[in-house]
């Protein structure tokens, strides 16, 4: 039995106090002795050949310490290629830090300037003579595949990065026998993470010891320890990556970037600290972008509205190169595997084409693939409801996998241990007052006010094992590790590989450990984000902090508990099994009576180990690594609803309210879980209504500043009401699953259904995101 004194409670985050006091410790804030600042000369063109690159004037500029080009920097770094074996046949051109001969997107770094200040480095950038022979850029994914279109880069034989098809044997028959078929084509815009703290890195190589320390704003420090060691030929124990406070990551900061690699290389070359902080303009043309899909899809139903099959074709546009080490294929791969996931749908065909073009690379970003699969599925379900004259709730009741029908395998092969779609749907209906909202909607339409209600069921992939990347050869850890120890004064310290970017990782780990050791969470100090002081692990990606990190901490805590009880048993001449930990002390299990304090255990084990029996382990330190077993992933499920008002004269939308019912298994901290969901929802609503990286025909991003790229702001975002179902996974003792991506997974889908519900009386539809006033007015025939 797990003690539940603190697991399940809304503990506040201790580390929030530092931020509230202005005492955050971000890489951006770091200044080291002899540190120099990097700025990059970037290609102004989307594609071309470098004809001339003359850095001599820049090298002489005030404050400049060194200028590097591909010729002088790239040789110390092994090239990297963003392909994985389990994506059979995928290809991508090898990359290195600075462009070699050819530029592949507008923003591609060509030269690196190191100066005493960033301002001086930027001054010198203006002195670099860069002549590029413009070549025809490939800017559109469909056009990229047309015969005769130029190749996006050298080193590939076509602009198709990867193609795959999933198909069940009964697909054609299902469509042939269908009473109803609905179909639509969708366009999901390209958007980007816009973490408020941009990418930041300070690399500090000490040639006297051969020690490389990289302060890196990332969610995956161990991955980068491995990347730096391998690409630069260093022993990994001489590479220390420290990720202190990170100002947002969301998947964007776990990819290998040219600039970070160049900063490490420059520090190796110069033997002094080198700092790079992307400014916002650079962020827009060098951070990974996300999504950018065109999907054609159809859904077959019988006469009763039972979903028989879906047939989906996804073309996703990933930019000039596939990211390393996770590739840019994972997103599309999840899109085609998550289609129809909440439903009993027996047959399916999903075709995926991953296509290059001369733009910034796209890759994993919060809720990888989920928003696309969810939006397509749920839009078609709503279209089906319309065609069959069923209420959107009714059609979902008819098709969601029954709560007692688990385990269940989806048509795409995903295995679900136990989900709660119907309970979630019922709860959603209740908390949103669905029937009253429908009545209000009908009433308001008479007054010319058009409101829409949109619903979207979803599943989310969490707690991934090695099936995600490891099987494809990626050196991405699927296991995590923790060291829990009792200090000489009887306090607890936990060093763990999962990392914190504000989601509350350290707090929930403290809660889990506290419950194993009978202490309070504030007695447990948690250390994360430093490869020298914490065990190696996957850290934070694909929703694993609570489920995998929590389980690791739980098991480590239990090991330490056993050690403590063994020492206590020796000291007290009692059978350890008769003892327990509670209230910061060792107690008699039967009576709860205090026997000896943890401080006393710490004192004896540390200062008087001679008084313990021979062979008694006095280390008071437990190490535990844990990799998920059982199901390849622990899926969560939930449902969201969006209430939107559309001004049918202006195309302007107003988000009135949003609801989420979520089942992430065992909830460790309700306060933090709800805020993960809220933040995730808004991260899904942003690209549904506002966020889009816009490009012109030449491959130039035309809105690459925070004045022109519209992020979701407080004035436009709705209040979000949340309820829970709790179905713990039986794969772990803790029973927790992930929750970080659930909000983002379905918010846009619910919103698109809501807008289309509002537009329905006018016979208008929208199937492109973001749903801008222009697109809505176009749908309405006003433009």
């Amino acid at each position: 039995m797990t003690s539940t004194d603190h697991i399940g409670q809304s503990h506040r985050r201790e580390n929030a106090l530092r931020h509230l006091a202005g005492r955050g410790r971000f890489v951006t804030d770091l200044a080291l002795p002899r540190m120099v600042h990097a700025a990059f000369v970037r290609s102004p063109m989307a594609k071309g050949k470098i004809v001339e690159l003359d850095v001599s004037a820049a090298a002489e500029a005030p404050g400049v310490v060194r200028v590097f080009t591909a010729e002088t920097l790239n040789p110390i770094c092994a090239p990297w290629t963003g392909t994985l074996d389990h994506f059979a046949g995928m290809k991508s051109a090898p990359q290195n830090m600075l462009a070699e001969g050819q530029v592949l997107w507008a923003g591609h770094p060509v030269a690196m300037i190191l100066a005493h200040s960033r301002a001086e480095a930027e001054d010198a950038c203006e002195l670099v003579l860069l002549d590029i022979e413009d070549e025809e850029a490939v800017v559109d994914g469909d056009a990229a595949l047309v015969e005769g279109t130029p190749l996006v880069s050298e080193g590939i034989d076509s602009n198709l990065c990867f193609r795959t098809v999933l198909e069940t044997p009964g697909l054609d028959e299902a469509f042939a026998n269908a009473a109803h078929v609905v179909e639509d084509s969708f366009t999901f815009g390209r958007h980007t993470a816009v973490t408020l703290e941009p990418r930041a890195v300070v690399a500090d190589f000490d040639p006297s010891t051969g020690q490389l320390t990289v302060h890196h704003g990332t969610q995956t420090p161990y991955q980068f320890q491995d990347v730096y060691a391998h690409q630069f030929g260093l022993p990994d124990n001489k590479v220390r990556v420290i990720a202190p406070d990170v100002g947002g990551s969301f998947g964007m900061k776990l990819h290998v970037y040219n600039e970070e690699m160049a900063v490490v290389a420059a520090s190796l070359k110069l033997g002094r600290p080198v700092r790079f902080v992307a400014d916002r303009l650079e962020s827009f043309v060098s951070d990974v972008h996300a999504r950018d899909h065109r999907v054609s899809a159809r859904m077959a139903m019988d006469a009763q509205g039972t979903i028989l099959a879906m047939d989906v074709d996804d073309m996703t546009q990933i930019g000039a190169i596939s990211t390393y080490p996770r590739t840019s294929v994972a997103e599309g791969n999840q899109v085609i595997r998550l289609m129809g996931a909440p439903y009993t749908m027996p047959d399916y065909r999903g075709r995926l084409s991953v296509v290059f073009q001369n733009k910034v690379q796209t890759s994993q970003y919060r809720a990888v693939g989920h928003p696309i699969a969810c939006a397509v599925t749920e839009a078609l379900v709503d279209r089906a409801a319309e065609q069959l004259d069923l209420d959107p709730i009714e059609i979902r009741q008819r098709n969601l996998v029954a709560d007692d029908a688990y385990p269940h395998v989806s048509a795409t092969g995903y295995q679900f241990e136990k989900l709660s779609h119907h309970a979630a749907l019922a709860k959603l209906r209740e908390i949103m007052g669905y029937d009253a909202l429908r009545a209000e909607q009908a009433e308001l339409r008479k007054q010319g006010i058009y409101r829409g209600i949109g619903i979207a069921s979803f599943v989310e992939i969490t707690n991934p094992g090695a099936a995600f990347y490891g099987v494809g050869g990626a050196r991405v850890s699927a296991q995590d590790g923790a060291i829990v120890r009792l200090t000489p004064s009887g306090e607890v310290h936990c060093a763990i590989s999962v990392t914190e970017q504000g989601q509350g990782t350290e707090t929930i780990i403290a809660q889990v450990v506290a419950d194993q050791l009978g202490v309070t969470p504030d007695q447990v100090k948690v250390t994360t984000g430093d490869t020298d002081t914490t065990p190696s692990g996957g850290a934070t990606w694909a929703c694993r902090g609570a489920g995998i990190g929590g389980e690791t901490a739980l098991r480590a805590g239990r090991r330490l508990q056993a050690q403590i009880l063994a020492i206590a048993g020796a000291v007290l001449q009692a059978e350890p099994a008769t003892l327990a930990l509670a209230g910061g002390t060792v107690v008699d299990k039967a009576t709860g009576k205090e026997r000896i304090t943890l401080a006393e255990i710490g004192r004896i084990a540390t200062y008087r180990p001679d008084t313990l029996p021979e062979g008694c382990d006095n280390s008071l330190t437990a190490v535990q690594h844990f990799a998920p077993t059982g199901y390849p992933f622990d899926f969560t499920n939930g449902i969201q609803a969006s209430h939107v008002e559309v001004d049918i004269e202006t195309g302007v939308t107003r988000l009135l309210k949003h609801w989420v019912v979520e089942d992430c298994g065992r909830i460790i901290n309700p306060l933090l879980v709800d805020e993960q969901i809220r933040g995730g929802v808004v991260q899904g609503l942003g690209p549904a209504f506002f966020e889009e990286c816009m490009y012109d025909d030449m491959g130039q991003m035309t809105n690459a500043s925070l004045a022109d790229y519209l992020v979701p702001m407080a004035g436009e975002m709705p209040d979000i009401e949340i309820a829970h179902i709790e179905t713990p996974t039986l794969d772990t003792i803790l029973g927790a699953k992930g929750v970080g991506e659930a909000g983002t997974a379905a918010a846009g889908a619910a919103a698109m259904n809501a807008v289309n519900d509002a537009l329905r009386p006018m016979g208008a539809r929208i199937s492109q995101t973001p749903m801008t006033p222009l697109r809505i007015l176009t749908a309405l025939g006003h433009v």
Partner: protein, 286 residues
Amino acid sequence: MKSPAFEYVRAESVADAMSAYAEADGDAVYLSGGHSVVPSLALRLQAPALLIDLSNIAALSGISLHDGWLRIGAMTRHVQALKDPLIAAHAPLFTAAAPFVAHPAIRNRGTLGGSLAHADPASEFPAAAVAMRAELEIASSQGIRRVPADDFFVDIYETAIEPGEVLQAIHVPSPVAGQVIGFDEIARRRGDYAMVGAAVQAVSRGSGLEDVSIALFSVGNHPVRARKAQAALTGRMIDADAIADAQAALEDDLDPPDDPQFPASMRLHLARVLLGRVLANLEAVA
């Protein structure tokens, strides 16, 4: 995003400022609130040798009433347009426009004069100035002149201010009995530049509207006076027909820019919708 190097001088008088400008051979930029100049420097869109700070010049500040005109010093902050009772009473379209201008911290520092001199075609205060028939007081080495707002806004980011001249103040004629105003805009997010905006002023008499003044913004290279729409409303009571006629007249009044992200037809459509809404909600101010 660090600015290129420049020299800086804080001028104590308009004459000081203008002579500093002359000494720099025109390779200088005046700095008032800095909320357009500083970002453009950080973006390296311009690289003047000298920045001349106008914030300490007494002649550019102050709000006072003279002979039926309100004089608003060019350094008056946006937030004062929102809160100052004299502006609310005598230049009410500035007060009505202010909540739409950016965000609280920007309004704390941005200046009315800076906004007018910058002349962003999507910005609110220039259109309010046109609709109120304001006059702009410009200092040059030859002396001071007043330019009607209609003649002040010349093109995109271009005004009647000649190089080296300083916008000193905005003069707004006080409202007359029966004056009504309306201001609104359609923007993607609160505080964003408008997709389309409208500033309207008129005098409501028993017989109908007189002295109708309509300035639309974000529909052309500068605030656009909608003369045909004004004519369509003159002498008429505000009703559905009058509004429809004014909306229809915009076809002739406007020639919006065309852009794939924002087609001319959309701007025209939005301008019609917005004008209709503003006209239906005119408020009495005197």
